[in-house]
Subunit: 154 residues, 2 copies
Amino acid sequence: MNDNRWSMIAAAALAGLLASGPAAAQFKDAEDATEYRQGAFHVMGNHFGRLGLMANGKIPYDAKAAEINAGIVATLSRLPWAAFLDGSDKGETDAKPEIWSQPEKFKSAALKMQDEVAKLDAAAKTGNFDKFKAAFGEAGKACKACHDDFRKKH
Amino acid sequence: MNDNRWSMIAAAALAGLLASGPAAAQFKDAEDATEYRQGAFHVMGNHFGRLGLMANGKIPYDAKAAEINAGIVATLSRLPWAAFLDGSDKGETDAKPEIWSQPEKFKSAALKMQDEVAKLDAAAKTGNFDKFKAAFGEAGKACKACHDDFRKKH
């Protein structure tokens, strides 16, 4: 079995692992999928950044703003994974080949992030700053761990 | 008063109209804002498209999938508006100058879309296909009306 065949199997496994569920997006082509996931990450990163400013005391803690922004991040955290389609490792993307060659490890990292973001969303709803700050720290670690392994450095 | 001055005033008015609220994003620069709003529209359009496939009978109506996708669209419908920053009418954008020269009209169109999407979200939650289909049609009209006036044709 050649390398192409292996990567097709890995991609199919990845699609099966990540693209299921009633909210899974569908894509016209690999470029559309790449734009979709980049869009989701960009919007998510923006709102996560706002939470970071609060968690790190750069702007005052505003419980309502934290709750809304954490809710946006939680919604978006579930979206990008279905868009790592076979063939969408090309073009303008920071996605490392390891996403497709280590699909189980990638899935695990993606689920860890979603889990920590769900906890952050719950913590933000309590209105308790210390809980919010702690949950933000764990969510940030989960983001970073996945970026370290699966996103190209600039 | 020269044209630049007028456009600055219009942009400030637009920012005041659209960028308020605890969920309003903040941006590093105009390019960041442009990428953010394009990302939000791209993800929103994908999930709106899935709803359209169901509303138009191209795929079977799945009440749970409709509810989840409408919820994603509703969350995203509130986001792009804060990103039409002063100076973000340049570069790779389909935003027409009218967004900045007719801020009240743009705001009205943006609010109409959010309102119709909120109704679509509520209709999807009922699980009733006819209500869902009708609400989808109204939301689609609101999208199109704003695109016709404020998005460049390709």
